[in-house]
Symmetry: C2
């Protein structure tokens, strides 16, 4: 039986999603919980490999189970074992062909900036504090430059090994609320560190260290200007992963 899990986690105390030796990772924590629950070694595939410190409001994972536990009850069973910084929001049976990463048709990422002078204890692990001298209008004007199909080579980490760096951003949003500024990207796929690099470029524009034209040029040239830093992971949230509706799901005997 193939199962889809929707997960929320606070990434602060995790060394990211992906299993690494002697590190506390989200994937490893989930696989440990599944082993305790089922007595079997279960591999979990995540839709997005979030970095150390990055959070998820709707990460999706897929796994195969041979046990008799109903898929819909798996969430409650796993939550009784999982630590309080990662929980299953929803569990459901899906067609055997489903794969959290390969079946995904889109993802939504949010990045939260804190526009304040001085540190914030409450948001210290939740937002990137960038001061108050920020040209929010300039950022709002530059943000739509990312929309569309582009070669995002300039915005992907150099150690990335992918066949193509072309991706499509369908929509972007900017929402100011008090002293926080949330930037949201909805796209068909994201390269390694792409969101953090796009946000780094936007903040460079907001701090007048770069212009919107530099973003346009980076998108056409594939070269990243030195002024574009990489935003830290702790402001990043994987909000949702999108899939095509399951044509086969009506046939499942839930």
């Amino acid at each position: 039986m193939k199962v889809k899990l929707t997960l929320e986690y606070d990434g602060t105390d995790f060394a990211g999603w992906q299993v690494q030796p002697k590190q506390r990772t989200v994937q490893g924590t989930l696989e440990d919980a599944l082993y305790r629950l089922t007595g079997h070694t279960v591999s979990v595939e995540g839709a997005g490999r979030t970095d150390a410190g990055a959070h998820a409001l709707g990460q999706v994972a897929s796994l195969s189970l041979t046990t008799s536990i109903p898929a819909l009850k798996l969430a409650v069973a796993l939550n009784s074992i999982l630590p309080e910084d990662v929980k299953v929001l929803w569990s459901e049976q899906v067609p055997d062909s489903f794969h959290a990463r390969f079946s995904a048709t889109g993802k939504v990422y949010r990045y939260v900036l804190l526009l304040r002078y001085g540190p914030s204890p409450i948001l210290r692990h939740r937002a990137w504090q960038i001061g108050t001298k920020v040209d929010v209008e300039g950022m709002a004007e530059a943000l739509p430059l990312f929309v569309g199909t582009h070669d995002f080579k300039a915005f992907c980490a150099s150690d990335s090994s992918v066949t193509t760096t072309v991706r499509t951003i369908n929509d972007v949003k900017l929402k100011r609320e008090g002293d926080t500024l949330a930037v949201e990207f909805n796209g068909n796929g994201f390269l390694y560190r792409m969101v953090r690099n796009m946000v780094g470029a936007l903040v460079a524009v907001g701090k007048c260290r770069a212009t919107a034209a530099d973003i346009s040029q980076a998108l056409t040239s594939g070269r990243r200007p030195l002024a574009f830093t990489t935003a830290p992971a702790h402001g990043l949230y994987l909000v949702a992963v999108e899939y095509n509706p399951f044509a086969a799901i009506d046939k499942l005997d839930l």
Copy 2:
């Protein structure tokens, strides 16, 4: 020199504001930092003695300093010593008669509820998760009952030793945003656990375990129905403390 500090803290890892033997408290942490900075024992008075786990966005503290450090630079100096879960947002010189608690003319408290089925890793230390079956309209109708001058005896912890339990609530607000519901109280003073008890009563109404009439009756009778629980501390935020404008502040040589 009398100094006023405005503080933000994440109450999760503190045993509340007030100094207690062998416990990590906000007051104790501040006094330690002041000792390290000045070499003197400095007593700090807080405007509100927040409970273990409760947060502050704008707690106010007062203290007397004999050192030559300019009051306005104290925030930066203290922040270099303080741990990351408590920081000074602002420091300023005030008249010698100023006292964080006794000079306060009002306070604003916020309580955040999470209306969701299942736990939230991101908000686990920031909001009280009360499920989805909540009559928000019923709560919104009951909330204004607290406005005005009342004897809040039914909403204060039994171990409280105050001369009068009469307080005035000037204003209340209810703000829904996604699956969070923030309740805000602006009043001239609050009894021990009063906000947590008012929120407990509101949630009892929201969960149809009590009615708005029960709140009215508790305000007149001074007796608290069993259905009114005390909301947990981790959803509570001391947002701001209000003072009369300092008439003398113009004369200070800042």
